[in-house]
C-alpha cells in the first residue's frame, strides 16, 4: 500500500516535471555527493543495493566540496539535481528543507528512521515543522590524535589532565618535537581545536545554561576556558598563525608533531596517507584528575531525496537501504567513519575506541545549536579565535562578540 502511494507520488512528480534531466534510462537513479574521495566505497555499497534490487542502478556524481552547496542549490532551484542527495546537517540542511527542495521522510515510508538515535534525527530535522528530511550517515567525534611512537621515544605518557597535558607538551618540546600540530590559519580548524580542549572545562551544565539563557558566552566559565587555549601557544608549531590545516596534518603524519587535535573524520585519511603511522585517538584532558573527559560530537550530514525527483520510489528504496545496520556496518568498515545506525558492528579497533569515547560526549556547541541563523556562532567564534591566538583580542572580547552577534536571533539571550 505504501509503495503504491509512493508510486502515485512519483508518477505525479514525473508528470509535473515533464522530462527527466539526465537522459538516463528509467531504472537509473543518481546520487549527488561532495565526497569525491569516497566514490569507490559508494560504488561498492550501491553494488550491494543493485544486487538486491536488480532493476535499480545508482549513478554517482561527485562534486568539488567547496562548491557543492552552490552547484546543488542552483540545480535544485531550476528543478534538477540528483535523485538522492548527500546533505549537510543542522542549519545547512534547514536552508534546503525550508525551500521545499527535499522530500520529508515519513517514518511510515522510511521505517529505518527508527534505527537512528534521537540526536541524529534532530540533526536532520527542520525545527519549524518537526519533520526529518535526511537520514544521518555518520557521527563525528572531536578529540586528540597522538603518535604513540613519538610519545614512547620521548618517554612521555599520554596525558589525562590539563596539567599533565602541559607537562607532556613541555617534555616533548624539550626533545625537539612539536607537541601540538595545530595551527590557526584555517578558520574552521580553530573551532575544532577550541572545542576539543574547552568542552571538558565547560561541561554539560554550561550547555544547558546557554539553552535556558542562564548563561551567555560572556560567562566566566566560557571565557576562562578560552583563556586556557592561550597556554597552548608555546606548544604549537613556530609561526602557528600561518600554519594551515594541510600543514598541521603533514606535521602529525610525518612524526614532526606528537599530537593533533581533530576529528574522527581524519582516521581514514591519515591511514591512507601513512599506513605505518602508529596512532591513537584519545579524549581531551580533564580539568582535574578524575573529572570526565568529554569529547565533542556532531553529525556530518545525511542522505535526502530530491522533492522533484522523477524516481522518488526508487530513491526512497535506496535511502531505506542506507538506514539498515548491514549498510552501516559495511559503511563503517569501508570508510572508517562511525555510522549512527543502531546495531552496527564496528570491527576496527580504533573506531571501536572512538565509539566508546562517544559514551562521554558533549555536543560540538556552535555547529549543533548556533548554525541556524546569521551570523552563525561558528563564524563569530572562528574569527575571534584567530584574533585571540594571534594576540589581538582577549577571551572576554571574543565571548562578548559572540554573545552580541547571536543575540540578533537567539531568544534566550534577548532577555
Amino acid at each position: 500500500m505504501i509503495s503504491a502511494r509512493i508510486g502515485k507520488l512519483a508518477l505525479a512528480a514525473t508528470a509535473a516535471w515533464g522530462m527527466a534531466f539526465s537522459a538516463a534510462h528509467a531504472a537509473d537513479i543518481t546520487f549527488w555527493t561532495w565526497r569525491q574521495e569516497d566514490k569507490a566505497a559508494y560504488t561498492e555499497l550501491f553494488g550491494d543495493f543493485t544486487k538486491a534490487n536488480p532493476d535499480i542502478h545508482v549513478k554517482i556524481e561527485a562534486f568539488d566540496p567547496a562548491n557543492y552547496a552552490t552547484i546543488l542549490s542552483t540545480a535544485l532551484a531550476a528543478g534538477h539535481g540528483g535523485d538522492v542527495l548527500h546533505t549537510r546537517a543542522y542549519g545547512a540542511l534547514e536552508t534546503f528543507a525550508k525551500a521545499g527542495y527535499l522530500l520529508a521522510l515519513d517514518p511510515k515510508a522510511v521505517p529505518e528512521l527508527a534505527n537512528l538515535p534521537a540526536d541524529a534525527l534532530a540533526s536532520e530535522t527542520l525545527r519549524a515543522d518537526g519533520k526529518v528530511y535526511s537520514l544521518s550517515f555518520a557521527s563525528q567525534t572531536l578529540g586528540v590524535f597522538i603518535n604513540k611512537d613519538v610519545f614512547a621515544k620521548a618517554g612521555v605518557q599520554p596525558p589525562a589532565t590539563w596539567d599533565a597535558f602541559l607537562a607532556a607538551c613541555k617534555a616533548l618540546k624539550a626533545k625537539g618535537v612539536i607537541p601540538l600540530a595545530n595551527g590557526t590559519a584555517t578558520a574552521w580548524m580553530d573551532e575544532v581545536m577550541a572545542s576539543v580542549f574547552i568542552n571538558p572545562f565547560l561541561g554539560p551544565q554550561f550547555v544547558a545554561d546557554i539553552q535556558s539563557g542562564k548563561a551567555s558566552f560572556e560567562d566566566k566559565r566560557y571565557t576562562a576556558a578560552l583563556g586556557r587555549l592561550l597556554e597552548l601557544r608555546d606548544y604549537m608549531p613556530p609561526g602557528f598563525t600561518g600554519v594551515d590545516y594541510a600543514t598541521s596534518q603533514q606535521l602529525f603524519l610525518t612524526g614532526r608533531a606528537a599530537m593533533f587535535a581533530g576529528g574522527s573524520f581524519e582516521i581514514a585519511n591519515f591511514r591512507k596517507q601513512n599506513p605505518k603511522l602508529n596512532m591513537d585517538f584519545i579524549a581531551p584532558p580533564a580539568p582535574s584528575a578524575g573529572a570526565p573527559r568529554y569529547v565533542s560530537k556532531f553529525y556530518d550530514g545525511g542522505y535526502a531525496v530530491n522533492a522533484k525527483s522523477a524516481h522518488q520510489a526508487d530513491a526512497l528504496k535506496l535511502v531505506r537501504y542506507m538506514g539498515t545496520p548491514a549498510y552501516g556496518t559495511k559503511f563503517a568498515a569501508l570508510l572508517g567513519n562511525i555510522s549512527p545506525i543502531k546495531g552496527v558492528v564496528i570491527n576496527d579497533p580504533l573506531l571501536a575506541e572512538v565509539a566508546k569515547l562517544n559514551e562521554t560526549s558533549m555536543p560540538y556547541i556552535m555547529a549543533v545549536y548556533f548554525r541556524f541563523d546569521s551570523p552563525t556562532g561558528s563564524e563569530l567564534l572562528q574569527s575571534g579565535l584567530q584574533k585571540m591566538m594571534g594576540g589581538s583580542a582577549t577571551p572576554e572580547q571574543v565571548g562578548a562578540d559572540i554573545t552580541k552577534g547571536v543575540s540578533r536571533y537567539y531568544k534566550p539571550f534577548q532577555k
Binding site: 569525491q36 574521495e37 568539488d64 552552490t70 600543514t247 610525518t254
Partner: protein
C-alpha cells in the same frame, strides 16, 4: 658615453633580477610535480630526489586527460574567437562613429565588469535550461562570451579611439565602403589591442572551473580544470599530485603562449610608429 653604459648595465641587472623573480616560482611548480608529499613539505625548494613520474602518471591515467584537454581547447578557442569578433564590431561602432547613444551603450558594456557574474548563476542556469543549453559546450561558450565582452569592448574601444582619423577620411574620399575601411584600413592597426584582449580573456576562460562545475555534468564534456578538480578532490592532501595536475593544466596554455609569443610581441609592437 660611460654614464649611459653604466645606467643601461644597472637597468639590465634589474631586468635580470625581475626575470628571476618571475621565473623561479614557475620552476618550483614544475619540480614539485615530481615530488612526494613528504618531500614537498620537508624540502620544498630542493631538486626532486628523482625524476619521478608517478604523480603525472596518476593524473594521466586516472582522468580522461586528453578528452578534457580537447574540450578546454574547443571551449576556449570558440569563446575567444566569438569575443574578438563581437567585441571588435561593437567597439568599432562606439569608437569610430559618433552616435547619440554611444556613451550609454559603452556604459552598458562596462557595467558588465562591475559585478561578478557568479552572482547570477541561478538565473543563468534557468536561462540556459530554457534554451536547452545546459550540459552543452555551446551554453558554456555563450556564458564565457558574455563574461568576456565587457573588458574586451573596453580595451578595444580605448585603443580604437586613439587611431588617427586621417587614414579613415582618406579612404572614405577614395570611395571605400565602411566595411572595407574597417577591415583593411583600421583593424590592422588595432592588432595590438586585439592581441591583448584575446590573451586577457583566454586565460580566465581556460582556468575557470566554476561555470563548468555548475553547467556541465556529462563526463565527455568536462573541461580540464573541472575534470582535474574532481580528481584533486580525491587527492586533496596529496600536494605532489596536486602540483602535477596544476602543472599539466597550465602547461598547454604556457606552451601556446611561448610558441605564439613572437607573433604576440610582434602584434603588440606593430602599432609602433617608427
Amino acid at each position: 658615453m660611460k654614464g649611459e653604459w653604466l645606467k643601461n648595465g644597472a637597468i639590465q641587472a634589474l631586468l635580470l633580477l625581475n626575470g628571476f623573480v618571475m621565473l623561479y616560482p614557475l620552476f618550483v611548480m614544475v619540480i614539485s610535480a615530481f615530488k612526494s608529499n613528504a618531500e614537498i613539505f620537508t624540502s620544498p625548494f630542493a631538486l626532486p630526489a628523482g625524476f619521478d613520474l608517478t604523480n603525472a602518471a596518476r593524473v594521466w591515467n586516472e582522468t580522461s586527460f586528453v578528452l578534457y584537454l580537447g574540450n578546454s581547447v574547443i571551449v576556449t578557442t570558440a569563446s575567444v574567437a566569438a569575443i574578438l569578433v563581437c567585441a571588435t564590431m561593437a567597439a568599432y561602432a562606439i569608437a569610430r562613429y559618433p552616435f547619440r547613444l554611444s556613451g550609454a551603450v559603452f556604459l552598458f558594456f562596462l557595467s558588465g565588469l562591475m559585478v561578478p557574474l557568479k552572482l547570477a548563476v541561478i538565473p543563468l542556469f534557468i536561462q540556459l535550461d530554457g534554451l536547452g543549453l545546459i550540459d552543452t559546450r555551446a551554453g558554456l561558450v555563450l556564458v564565457y562570451v558574455a563574461m568576456g565582452l565587457p573588458s574586451a569592448v573596453f580595451i578595444l574601444t580605448g585603443f580604437l579611439r586613439t587611431l588617427p582619423g586621417e587614414l579613415e577620411e582618406a579612404a572614405r574620399i577614395e570611395g571605400a565602403s565602411e566595411l572595407r575601411i574597417m577591415l583593411s584600413v583600421m583593424l590592422p592597426l588595432a592588432r595590438p589591442a586585439m592581441v591583448i584582449a584575446a590573451i586577457q580573456n583566454a586565460v580566465p576562460i581556460w582556468n575557470d572551473f566554476f561555470f563548468p562545475l555548475v553547467f556541465i555534468t556529462s563526463d565527455r564534456l568536462k573541461t580540464l580544470p573541472q575534470g582535474l578538480s574532481v580528481f584533486m578532490g580525491e587527492y586533496n592532501t596529496d600536494w605532489g599530485v596536486l602540483f602535477a595536475g596544476l602543472t599539466l593544466a597550465a602547461l598547454p596554455i604556457m606552451l601556446v603562449y611561448i610558441a605564439l609569443s613572437r607573433q604576440f610581441i610582434a602584434g603588440l609592437t606593430q602599432g609602433a610608429i617608427k
